[in-house]
């Protein structure tokens, strides 16, 4: 097996005017459908390769062949998603663009999970104390120090344990939300809602502590 190109040429999937209708055959039967599915898979694979190779620095341990396998898996999963959700396509973009986003999602999630596969996610709520290192430096004024203390106090007292856990992991530890979702048996959307609510509570707390501008 030849090593895949580490800089894939995506020009082969450049839009060609007048052939966008091919996707209608995804709803057909027999050979027409098979050909449309094969075409779809080709597009998704190109997009997945684009994403995987674009992010390859996050997984330096992977060879070009392993990266290509990751892209193949992403394209396979994306094809299933696209075929399952054909009714969601409302023609608000080109079908190609609509399909690409599925491949990019699958590929980016796989790349993030690969990058964090052997990394521990500590999920220690106490880690917010590290915020001291992210705050104002020695030359900053008293007001900044008070703001930092208000944020720390808000993390400590205004958030639920779950909100604190997600906020600290995503913002302070830099854990990708998909990786966190996998470790917590949750999903991106649910965790983002927790994060959003945590930020809102934190802003309210900090505003009440004398910094109303954070909630404007």
């Amino acid at each position: 097996m030849a090593a895949p190109d580490t800089n894939p040429d995506v020009s082969a999937v450049a839009p060609v005017r007048g052939i966008e209708e091919w996707h209608l055959d995804l709803r057909a039967e027999g050979v027409r459908r098979d050909e449309a599915v094969a075409h779809l898979h080709g597009l998704l694979l190109r997009a997945a390769r684009f994403e995987v190779f674009r992010r390859r620095s996050s997984s330096p341990e992977l060879s070009a062949i392993e990266l290509d396998e990751l892209a193949q898996d992403a394209a396979d999963d994306a094809a299933l998603s696209v075929l399952r959700r054909l009714d969601d396509y409302r023609g608000e973009s080109s079908f190609r663009t609509w399909a690409y986003k599925f491949a990019l999602l699958e590929a980016s999630v796989k790349v993030r999970r690969q990058a964090w596969r052997d990394r521990e996610v500590t999920l220690e709520p106490e880690r917010w104390e590290n915020l001291a290192h992210a705050g104002p430096g020695p030359n900053d004024d008293t007001e900044n120090a008070e703001l930092l203390e208000a944020v720390r106090d808000g993390i400590r007292t205004a958030l639920t344990p779950r909100q604190r856990q997600v906020l600290v992991a995503v913002v302070l530890e830099g854990v990708p939300i998909d990786v966190l979702g996998e470790r917590l048996d949750s999903n991106r959307n649910a965790l983002y809602k927790l994060l959003h609510d945590a930020r809102r509570r934190l802003r309210v707390h900090v505003a009440a502590a004398g910094f109303p501008e954070v909630n404007e």
């Binding site: 939300i177 991106r188 983002y192």
Partner: protein, 77 residues
Amino acid sequence: MTGRDLDPTLKRLLGSNEPEIDCDECFAQLDRYVELELRGAPADELVPGLRAHLVGCPACAEEHESLRALLELESVS
């Protein structure tokens, strides 16, 4: 927030008060949003809340960046 140059970490902790959509809606609208952007249309007006979401959600922001980059690459190929 005005009148203060916040540390980037504090900005990410506090987020913004702007209305924003969630990750599922962001995914649903992303293809339309990026095509609008690339056409020079007022994407933020036509898809309200998506830009604010990208600021708050690193994962969705990466996928937006990638879709835009892929379409831009194809447009010059």
